[in-house]
Symmetry: C3
Amino acid sequence: MSYLRNCWYMASWSDGVGLGEVIGRTILDEAVALFRDPSGGIGAVEDRCPHRFAPLSAGKVNAEGIVVCGYHGLGFDRTGACVANPHGTVLRGAKVRSWPVVERHGIIWIWMGEAERCDPASIPDFAWLDSAPASARSHGEILSGGGGYDLYVDNIMDLSHTDYLHAETLGKGGVVFNKPNVTTTDEWVEVSWESRNARPPAFYPRMIPNLPELVDLTLRVRWIPAAAMRLDAEIRHDGKQGDDCHRASAAHIFTPETKDSTHYYFALVRNFAEEDAALNQMIADTRKRIFQTEDKPMIEKVHAAMRGRGFWELKPLLLRIDEGGVQVRRVMKKLVENEGRGEPLSIAS
Amino acid sequence: MSYLRNCWYMASWSDGVGLGEVIGRTILDEAVALFRDPSGGIGAVEDRCPHRFAPLSAGKVNAEGIVVCGYHGLGFDRTGACVANPHGTVLRGAKVRSWPVVERHGIIWIWMGEAERCDPASIPDFAWLDSAPASARSHGEILSGGGGYDLYVDNIMDLSHTDYLHAETLGKGGVVFNKPNVTTTDEWVEVSWESRNARPPAFYPRMIPNLPELVDLTLRVRWIPAAAMRLDAEIRHDGKQGDDCHRASAAHIFTPETKDSTHYYFALVRNFAEEDAALNQMIADTRKRIFQTEDKPMIEKVHAAMRGRGFWELKPLLLRIDEGGVQVRRVMKKLVENEGRGEPLSIAS
Amino acid sequence: MSYLRNCWYMASWSDGVGLGEVIGRTILDEAVALFRDPSGGIGAVEDRCPHRFAPLSAGKVNAEGIVVCGYHGLGFDRTGACVANPHGTVLRGAKVRSWPVVERHGIIWIWMGEAERCDPASIPDFAWLDSAPASARSHGEILSGGGGYDLYVDNIMDLSHTDYLHAETLGKGGVVFNKPNVTTTDEWVEVSWESRNARPPAFYPRMIPNLPELVDLTLRVRWIPAAAMRLDAEIRHDGKQGDDCHRASAAHIFTPETKDSTHYYFALVRNFAEEDAALNQMIADTRKRIFQTEDKPMIEKVHAAMRGRGFWELKPLLLRIDEGGVQVRRVMKKLVENEGRGEPLSIAS
Ligand code: FES
Ligand code: FES
Ligand code: FES
């Protein structure tokens, strides 16, 4: 598995890096020190001091927004330039690597590829996360899960796992036994399941009062390269159409740490019971627990069972439920190959 | 160390796999899902679903005795054939590997070699484990011990370690200072120690009332390839002979997980104080504690001290106490070589 | 990094090996069993029994000062010769490797190189550790710290880290912002910092009553190959000179376990408040806590950030504070190269 480098990856939730804080993250095998200056700006520099190799994330951010090494005090700005040396004059040209970062809609994005190709216009659109009131919105993260990010993307692209992996927690809905529709555009791959006059999953009636016994259900997952996903679950009844529905929209965003481990970010907003903060907390707690105790352990077991061999090398038995996930793998393969040849990264090309 | 593959290995105690249960074991580097259907039958199949590689041991056994993958629900029977697909038609020919299993005398045996050479007649005979009443019988296991199974076999083949490793717990008996007798037949290697008019090990008088101060002692260890062992400890007095003795018989059965770790099964029956369930529990607890706190740590230290090098490569200093263990190593070497050349596996050949 | 082998390394504090005790240590990748006989003599032999490879450090020392294997009872003397076999006659010529050891001034030194070049005259002089009364003396150790010993030496050679790494605990003294003086002789490298009419570090006034607000400060670190260090901190006032000062002298002695881990020994004596045992305990506790929670974690982070690459390979940005540490690296490189060519080991050669 080669990484797609010319691409925006999620480096943190905005609230994961406070004013004057620095944290260390591994992203695409690189050690990154992510820091925020006292006025709110974000920097991302190599997490290894050029002096004697202390991680800068073990240091501090000073009042001027300089990240100061915690070992002997060299200071670096957001461009990675060494701008402070308490032991003598500042050494011209001394610097560490830096990466472009953009903060948008509560997410800090980082560009791990060639600087000249960096374009904030290509940041995946998560504006919808900001649209809900705080009482209808939650987010969280799993700092490090075993297994490559592709296994995490697979997990969401094929929601039929819900009926088995989450049988005890999310209930056996059965909607995902229908064949999914897969759509590929130049920017994303989408998979959706439609079900009419079906019983909603067991937990919906608990969240939405007076729901009829039978409803129309839509599940829709959109994947944006390399690993940003939106999952909409919509319930309609009495012949309603379009946006006139109960909708819960989830973000599932994955960032490769290494080939073998992944940082998992998730969020949820809903358009119903928006003022119910207690329900919001309950949903947030439940989801985090489900990820931690069901998805993550299963993906880690899959990773262990693969014993370091590649997905195709193991000759997977493909089912019709895999169409979305396989399409994502095909697109990623093409994008990585195009990148390797210096060609444009469009999915359609 | 190459494994002997055409051989029965212990996969579990019978009570280690309940009705409708599935467990995962590593045996000879293979991931095995061992499961029992609701009517009691045992199956052993590859512990990796062919769909997206979830371990089947993370799934469930359904009412029909099918092991159902816990990720997306494919079902497999005992032959490894995929017989259920909730997402469409069952795919002809889809299957996972399976291994022959036989349950006998409270032990589940698995054949890891060529199916056409599989012969239940060659299962090591542990009928004697069943012969004692429950109050004179106990068994247990150590799920994973560091070190190859050969180190565990060595440990039992040379009981002179008792006087040192178990000096505090089993007492310094001294019987094993005598030169052992080693006998090799076409089916096993046996080592025995005889001592006349000797003090019995310290714990025997506690178990057997009115034991004379001096007794005749016999220790006898029989090894059956690849790693099944029986250890009889017999005490006789007043000129008694043969079966007219106090006998404690232990099973020590080892299953290679990998070159570097071993599953250790043990059991004990006795022909005295057979109705004393409290004594039985005390003996079982003591043995388990001794294995866990004395044998296993020592074998793991030996394994660590060898730093990945082979036994012969390290040029061991052989003593006369090693005759049995060395004979076992010679036999195993021949068996593995014969197997490699496709020749019969008889010890004598 | 190659080790300098013809050199004395610290194997233990004297009180780390009691009468009749045996401990296991890894020194320069070798497993060493270090033991003391009941009359006080010290032996160092290979920590792997030649019989079946149990670590001798898992055994016992008997009344005759023989280290007896804990598995089957072979006994070895300080020369490594097998001198006891409870299972038969002693095997002529059976032996394990042994290393020269010398106990001096509370330290057990071991020679890991060629026996014919072993010369106790070249043991680093730590007589000064013995000179203080017990109430002005303390020592301790960190059994295993991640990172090569060179990173630990660097840490002490460049005390400017105090102002950053220990800002909260030792206080920001600032004395080490002065350029250090570096002196190299045929036997050691020394680095020193001088400061006149300066504020003493925050903790000094707590230890020394009636200290003037401004004092003269001297810090002096002497490194003796391969990894023995003495650090003197001296405070003078009212124009006093030479030995007429408050002096705290620390030993920092490092022993490579492997390329990637180090045993860290430390000690402290002082020439003031020598009878204050409570102060002594407070200082000892504080130092141990600082090493454990500040130095060791930072060095381990540096080690992790280097990801197995060498110091020079990473092209460090050298500052004037590095002059001492760089000089040590140059000397060590020359010593190791000379050793490789069989040339004399003098620093000056
Ligand atoms: S390691 Fe960063 S300043 Fe020294
Ligand atoms: S991994 Fe087993 S059914 Fe999908
Ligand atoms: S391993 Fe030391 S005596 Fe057997």
